[in-house]
Symmetry: C2
Subunit: 156 residues, 2 copies
């Protein structure tokens, strides 16, 4: 099992995000908009990790942490895209990018994916116990996966 | 959950461990909450750079970019702090942190600094030209400086 597969097997999509963005972060000449959205994805991955850790019982349930993680995920999903998904920063055009051209040719479809993430995250803001968090993780991970399948290119 | 338990739980997160491991090359075993807030600060810096570039005429004025940059800065300033400023992640306690203990001993003072950033950023959402952006840069930079002076320790 290679590292990426192992990480994905252990942790799912949050970790895949982390692995991807960390890989990109290690490249010095990265386009600044690409770097900024990688920071956004790192924050998404971190907060999904918090919720996933609670869902799995690896971390004790804490209502404030759950609410904060879910709220921050929603806020990250709702970031204005003009400064982050700058035209001309698709995969192949600039260093470190895995953004498919469809992000710009289908902006409504792309926006819908972030809306789905925000919706899935918001549903967890008041999750009252670890089981309730766990019940929402499928929709959360599904929103990551659906967006990556449609709008993220292969590894660089 | 007491502070120590919460820290231990955070440090035990699978995703966090992966992030730490994968980060090892460039970010020597950084605490995951510390890494997450560094990503937050990187996004803040990027968006201030966009506004600063427009104010200085290095980037062409674009109303959508200005509005997005200002909105994103406000959203970053309003991130829930529970997942990011985790107790026990002050400078000296964990790798990579420059967070002063005052962040936790004076949470209202710390919150005020983020409120000031959100206010300064929101004031620029509708800035109608480069000069209007420039006129707001002082308050924006001042909010960064004030927080760093009060709550950020020396370089590690």
């Amino acid at each position: 099992m290679d590292t990426f597969t192992k990480i994905t097997a252990i942790l799912g999509l949050g970790a895949a995000l982390v692995a991807t963005t960390v890989f990109a972060d290690s490249h010095a000449a990265e386009n600044p908009a690409v770097a900024a959205r990688h920071h956004q994805m790192q924050m998404v991955g971190y907060h999904i990790g918090v919720l996933g850790g609670i869902a799995k019982g690896e971390m004790e349930y804490d209502a404030e942490m759950v609410s904060a993680a879910a709220s921050n995920l929603a806020a990250l999903a709702r970031m204005e895209r003009a400064t982050l998904w700058v035209a001309g920063t698709e995969q192949g055009a600039v260093e470190g990018s895995r953004a498919k051209a469809e992000i710009w040719s289908d902006p409504d479809g792309f926006a819908k994916k972030f809306d789905d993430l925000a919706t899935a995250a918001t549903a967890l803001v008041d999750a009252g116990d670890a089981a309730a968090v766990g019940a929402g993780m499928g929709a959360l991970g599904g929103s990551c996966k659906a967006c990556h399948e449609a709008f993220r290119g292969p590894k660089n």
